[in-house]
Subunit: 393 residues, 2 copies
């Protein structure tokens, strides 16, 4: 068996393997769309490509209304504002920090709930514990595309007469119980950031089946102007506009998305097969009711006792092999600024968040990773495990 | 003399002439940059093109630090937050509504001051009238590239120990008293929106000579992460990142910007020559101390008594000629939602804002407009003026 690079062996890979290396469309397809931009001189402001993209997204996501915007964080801000979120909003701490920041930026207090140990999405019992008379909304995050427990969350929201927004940044192209994911809650937010399953350089969208909510968000995306290029402002709004060139990328990506999905699925299965025998390393499997998945994340939990090495030491050992695995998510938002300072005792009520975030590793997948790389990564894990006695972590 | 189209004549132009039709770079130059994006698979997150763009902007703008961001409104939000603006901030009502919305979105109260009748920038005497103990900052807007009275504003700010931020969205490439415009105040904000002198599809930047302020804004642009792709969050932040493809557009535009400036200048001079004899129509000239100008806006005030037709009727008559002139800015922000509802009596203290916004027209210029079009537009104005008795406006 090979010697781990961190112990003096040759690195397993010559070039670094990244988590979230962007998926790309066919450049020629992209360029044809860009030609249309130069021909029309229409660069932004709800141009023809953004409108075409919007229509294609509505079909792809099986949702009535879609508002493309410049990025997922702005999509969150717009949806939160349009849903009249204020005072306190409940969300999981186990999420990308943008979910919390989008609230705090608007001076809404993010109130963190814990996650389920099994599917790592927000735990409905924990939501009940942090509900107060000042709670104005709940944001469920479909972490790694795993759907939230939407039935229980919907029931809590109905009881307290508040709205549910879903952060579906990880869930492009997913279905739960055969329901396309964008149909849950009052609205959903998607991210088309470079590292996502589906990207438009940067970008995002708010989706909803509520016509008046969609119309309000559409206006708010362009400063609240009543129709693009009109002089009347009806709402407070910001600049959340998607550019034509981002729409060009999104349109081009839609041509490639099913082949990317298939590659992701094959990668996931290869990881499952290749790491199944390594003690102390467990792959998080998608929940049973996730009837359609994008397979974008390969997430592993490291059990220090069984594996013999802690998660952070393993990350370093992998880095020496040129495998740039990531702690995603680590730490929970409650451990980050400004939340850590404001609420130093949050860990007391977020045990699962702290446990999972201390064990989690995200592995490279996507278009630039194939079966061969995955076999190589598994061999790294095996050789590191085999040499566990030489580590101090 | 020809008959105005609105009175039954042939329209002067077959295709509409727009205000703010985007300037474009050489497509081949743009495409070479895009090739680099596809080769590197680096689509966003402070990539090589954004860093190259940043360096070139710092040189072009003669400022120490530049942080490129996704659009000018987000640039305002970031700068306001980094400067610790809160409670009340003074700004002119005569500005694009984004200046006010960027504050209100963060629950900071925009307090409107009036403008000078002469250069239409914020009036320092009016600033003094609306200052309160809750004032935390002043935003000066260099409207049409006309520099604010930076000496008086700086003196007021010093007296009250508050910061000045300049909204330089119109001032790319301008100098006042031979000082490059980005050197005024604590920081300046630029917009690279499609309709601006210089564009990157959408885009913007915060500039400053203060290293720690620049560093803070840079981190805030990426959620406050301490360095790109690190796990530690030091600040509240949002997603303000510029994409690589926007940087590609900006870099390509820098190759063309001086020829666009020269064309703008020739257009401005042609307008001056062509409309000088039309009674009741006066071109707003750049102030004497604007030592370098981008000539991006051709702004005319309509004197209803002298011209014989009111501004809005003239706009309609021009539209019939396919000249899509715009009321820019109309109305003042204080007349827009949500400000109109909160502060219905603002007009009492903003007389110049109401007077100027009722008279102003912005005329088409830029890359797609040449001498011939301007002569045609002047002929429209002459024929409309000649037929003034047939109008009811």
């Amino acid at each position: 068996m090979r010697k781990p690079a961190i112990l003096g062996g040759e690195p397993a890979f010559k070039e670094p393997l990244h988590v979230g290396r962007p998926n790309l469309p066919d450049k020629n397809v992209f360029w044809k769309y860009v030609d249309r931009i130069f021909d029309s001189r229409w660069l932004t402001n709800n141009g023809p490509l953004v409108r075409e993209f919007q229509e294609k997204l509505e079909k792809f996501l099986h949702v009535k209304y879609c508002v493309p915007v410049c990025n997922g964080t702005i999509a969150l801000e717009l949806a939160e504002r349009a849903l009249n979120f204020k005072d306190e909003v409940i969300l999981p701490s186990y999420t990308f920090v943008a979910t919390a920041h989008s609230l705090q930026w608007q001076r809404i207090t993010p109130v963190f709930a814990d996650i389920s140990k099994f599917d790592v999405t927000i735990d409905s019992e924990s939501i009940k514990k942090v509900l107060t008379p000042n709670t104005t909304g709940i944001i469920g995050v479909h972490v790694y595309g795993h759907p939230c427990d939407y039935k229980k969350i919907g029931s809590i929201a109905d009881t307290h007469n508040i709205n549910v927004l879903y952060d579906a940044a990880h869930s492009f192209g997913c279905e739960v119980d055969n329901i396309p994911i964008a149909n849950l809650g009052r609205a959903s937010v998607f991210s088309f950031h470079a590292t996502k399953f589906f990207n438009s350089f940067e970008g995002g969208a708010v989706t909803t089946n509520d016509e008046s909510l969609a119309e309000q968000i559409r206006l708010m995306t362009n400063f609240g102007f009543n129709g693009f290029e009109k002089d009347t402002v009806d709402y407070l709004g910001i600049n959340g506009k998607m550019t034509e060139v981002s729409a060009a990328m999104g349109l081009a990506m839609l041509h490639s998305i099913e082949s990317i999905r298939e590659n992701n699925k094959q990668n996931f299965e290869k990881y499952r097969e290749a790491i199944t025998d390594i003690e102390g390393i467990s792959l998080i499997e998608p929940p049973q009711n996730l009837t359609k998945h994008n397979w974008q994340y390969v997430i592993v939990l490291v059990d220090r006792e069984q594996f013999g090495i802690d998660r952070d030491t393993l990350i370093q050992a992998l880095e020496a092999e040129n495998v740039l695995a990531r702690r995603y998510f680590y730490p929970g938002c409650h451990q980050m600024q400004p939340y850590r300072e404001c609420f130093p005792d949050y860990s007391l009520i977020l045990p699962n968040t702290d446990i999972i975030s201390a064990k989690v590793i995200s592995f490279p997948t996507g278009q630039t990773i194939g079966q061969e790389e995955i076999i190589g990564i598994a061999e790294c894990l095996q050789s590191i495990s085999h040499n566990r006695n030489h580590f101090h972590g």
